[in-house]
Assembly symmetry: C2
Homo-oligomer: 220 residues x 2
Amino acid sequence: MTEQGERQRAAPRFTRAFRQKFAELIAWRRDVRRFTGAPLDEARLDRLLELAMHAPSVGNSQPWRFVDVRTPALRQAIIAEFERCNAEALAAYDGERAGCYAQLKLAGLREAPVHLAVFSEENPQAGHGLGRATMPETVHYSTLMAVHTLWLAARAEGLGVGWVSILDPARVKAALDVPASWRFIAYLCIGEPCEEHLDPELVRHGWQAPLPIEVVVHRR
Amino acid sequence: MTEQGERQRAAPRFTRAFRQKFAELIAWRRDVRRFTGAPLDEARLDRLLELAMHAPSVGNSQPWRFVDVRTPALRQAIIAEFERCNAEALAAYDGERAGCYAQLKLAGLREAPVHLAVFSEENPQAGHGLGRATMPETVHYSTLMAVHTLWLAARAEGLGVGWVSILDPARVKAALDVPASWRFIAYLCIGEPCEEHLDPELVRHGWQAPLPIEVVVHRR
């Protein structure tokens, strides 16, 4: 057992006031699809990424891989791919549901100053396999922890994050030319939001209401 | 478009001081395996679960399902299952790595006052399929967002969370008798931690160092 990694610092205390503010952060984090289009200072994105590096990961495998997509032609390819997949998704709904779906704004790809594609290294050397013999999917689960860390950090900065999942993972991988061993996890739009809401857009627009806690919490 | 869900409240502002404290929360969140064994007030667990309900989810599908495992015989079955899987995992390492693995404490199942099993509904009706036609796995990704929310909320309360993934999902499902449509995601130990650290246990004990950010962040 080596103690070399330990920096001797007193553990912080978190007050009730902090917890209340943290609960507000959780409550007011939204999936944002409406961005002002204002550019984002690179240092702010760096801060979000640095914080995301502290996310938990199985065996400390740190499998998250972020691709900051800057090239206009690549962004355009992703937008086209979203539009193709979204048209297919719409075609799968009927009647009133289809009408509702068609009116939803499901991505802010054109307006967001930052496009961040998130991948997982499928079989990272880091972590030496610890904790994933029976559940290899925990590698990807770790990457989700980093996504959520970044998301909350962005909200605390007054920035919005929108997650676009209406994409074909194989096509995204091909477009962005990433290693074969990376799994596509998420495509994030990041930028200054046009508006702030306490309720999710899909609640507000009548798509899906919150579930009662009894559906979710059980006892054995 | 209905506005009925919107509660008219001013959006909160998050100060630089809050962001600094939030960064400390991220930095000091640990995977805890050493619990004092002190009982946990039920209201505190409820608070964590209520906050987790605000996690983002694909199509607002809210697929997370939490099982508060109270029955001693069920807890014992999980402990036995962990010990079986952990012995198998150890057997896969050789030499120095095996020696290091054998000395790691990888779960606090015996001491933690709360055992919380986390599942995902594989095909939730909620959300009406939105956002998951091309990426059905985003249902499970949503559940990870709830896990991470709960984890941070616990840390803000001074509570530790330890994630046990060294378990066979099929056996956990069978032991806890959950619906066939639920996927096992995580088994969490929650309680008062014995100690607090800024560096992860797996770093401190020489298993896996942090990666440089260059490995993780790329540009296209």
